[in-house]
Symmetry: C2
Subunit: 338 residues, 2 copies
């Protein structure tokens, strides 16, 4: 299936990229270099590199969010910048914590600039994101910063749980969903609602948009979990069975564990083994997870979350054009081959 | 010389400790444990430990800052909590980046909870500090969060420069002072002014208090640099010559380098050598730094900064009792054997 790129992505990039560059320029030259490298703007030597620097899904949502509140997209621009900076902060720190050496086919920032470069650049971006929102005068800027602050706590909580769950063999499906809600849903909820906050939207609109973003984040993450085992490498850029290779307790795996029985015992044993698994083992385990219902349950849950995402949007009173564009964004984010 | 502990420290602790505990309690249990351990409230197993948990200089300044603006100390309490949380954030991350395994005679948090524990706990505290300020309704909370955000950027910039300077042999005295201003002065400037901001003080009072804090921070850091070479281990808790042992380019060292000549060449050679230096070498280098004027210049500069700190305070119109207590705090922070 090929998905067309929504117009909101293109418009969002045109507005957000210059604003993001201007904001990152405020950093100390060393930290600016780390961030510009991480974003794909420059190489390790600081030379500009061609490329489009990512889809910028979060900024596009933030700008649509302002339009959903009846304001011009530009009103949501500080929110667009802030959520993307928080996204970068979390990637810079998470890649280091997870020991990931590659992202989007490039060496991760910590492998190029050291742990201290990645830590400090992330710290600076986290602070800068709030500053950008507080530079919006009056109550809307303050309200946006409060909401983003709560989102950051959720994001950090999710990453902490993710790391803790690695050493536990009794993680439940509910705990895993809650973790993924923090890791992915919290920032998408902010992205989809903070533009409206800056536009002075009433609470019910802000809450509805946040719910849309949160459900969208969970749906996206569940699909990512499916692709991590059964996905097409041409689509994901990651080899098939990758999450099993790294013995990751993603949702399909946890569902199979929770099903109990001999299959669960075999899976649990596999997850606690050390060393590299053979391709035969990986295929056997993938089949086992599927047999135990992990694939079906996760597919159904992703569909349910996407429905809830769309329903959250339809439950609030926003301009029809913004609703249509937000629905198109939800499809774009979740429609990957699976 | 023995220094009496100012009454403001005792009063500050009585107010700030319960508020700090209540704020840290809002964190995810895992991150709460890391922070409580770092603060000396619990041991690695989570059991409460006796002890007073530090002097809390920054919260004491924040509370006095509210009183300087004619408000009750309690008005400054969110500021007291916020600056201490930012202090903890920076220590958690810096100890990891600097590879320091011990702080206040205890294993540092990252050695106990891993790099990820220290990174995430720091991230959570940085976010929480701003949240605490923004929970103060209206413009004062917003204004305080904006000022703290700028202070955090300075703090991160200072740490980035500190790490960068390690690999440079041509760092100037001015660059070193600017770096220390970020690492120590920025947060003390926030500590001394954010209470007044929450109390709605006029700009000239806020600016004067910030200048007092900034100069105090630089004076403190210069004295720390003197103690790092010629200090009394009984006072500092660190062995004499410690900063030379780690080949740190502290201010006295950079002054001696900038003086030029044979001594500077010898010193530069020492700083770039690898491996452990002998005690004889360390004593020889300390004598060299002193002969080149490093000790005298740093002592004079610390005195000059302390004078500027006191003058900043005297230039603004604040209650006499608050002025006297802030002067007593400045003496307490800087009067260590040197």
């Amino acid at each position: 299936m090929t998905t067309t790129v929504p117009e909101a992505i293109e418009r969002g990039r045109a507005l957000a990229v210059p604003a993001l560059r201007a904001t990152v320029d405020r950093l100390h030259p060393r930290l600016r270099h780390v961030v510009a490298y991480h974003r794909g703007w420059v190489d390790a030597a600081g030379e500009p590199v061609p490329g489009n620097g990512g889809k910028l899904v979060r900024p596009a949502l933030a700008l649509l969010s302002a339009e959903a509140a009846g304001a011009p997209a530009e009103v949501g621009l500080p929110a667009a910048v802030a959520v993307e900076l928080v996204h970068d902060f979390s990637l810079l720190h998470d890649d280091l914590m997870d020991g990931d050496r590659e992202r989007r086919h490039r060496a991760t920032a910590w492998t190029v600039f050291g742990a201290d470069g990645a830590i400090l650049a992330g710290d600076a971006l986290l602070g800068l994101a709030t500053q950008v929102l507080l530079e919006v005068e009056g109550e809307p800027g303050r309200r946006a910063a409060v909401i983003l602050g709560a989102g950051v706590q959720d994001l950090v909580r999710g990453q902490a749980e993710d790391l803790l769950f690695e050493s536990r063999s009794d993680v439940s499906v509910a705990e895993t969903l809650h973790m993924e809600d923090g890791k992915t849903g919290a920032l998408l909820a902010c992205s989809a609602s903070l533009g409206a906050v800056l536009a002075g939207a009433p609470d019910e609109v802000v809450d509805g948009l946040a719910e849309y973003g949160s459900r969208l984040g969970t749906a996206f993450q569940l699909i990512d979990d499916l692709l991590g085992i059964w996905g097409d490498p041409a689509v994901t850029g990651k080899p098939v069975l990758n999450d099993l290779r790294s013995r990751k307790k993603s949702v399909p795996v946890v569902v199979a564990l929770e099903a109990g029985g001999d299959d669960a015992d075999e899976l649990r044993a596999f997850l606690t083994e050390e060393g590299e698994a053979s391709e035969d083992d990986l295929h056997r385990i993938a089949a086992l997870v599927e047999r135990a219902g992990g694939r079906d349950w996760t597919t159904a849950e992703a569909d349910r979350q996407l429905k809830a995402c769309e329903n959250a949007l339809r439950s609030i009173s926003i301009p029809a054009s913004a609703e249509a564009e937000l629905l198109a964004m939800a499809r774009f984010v979740t429609e990957r081959d699976r």
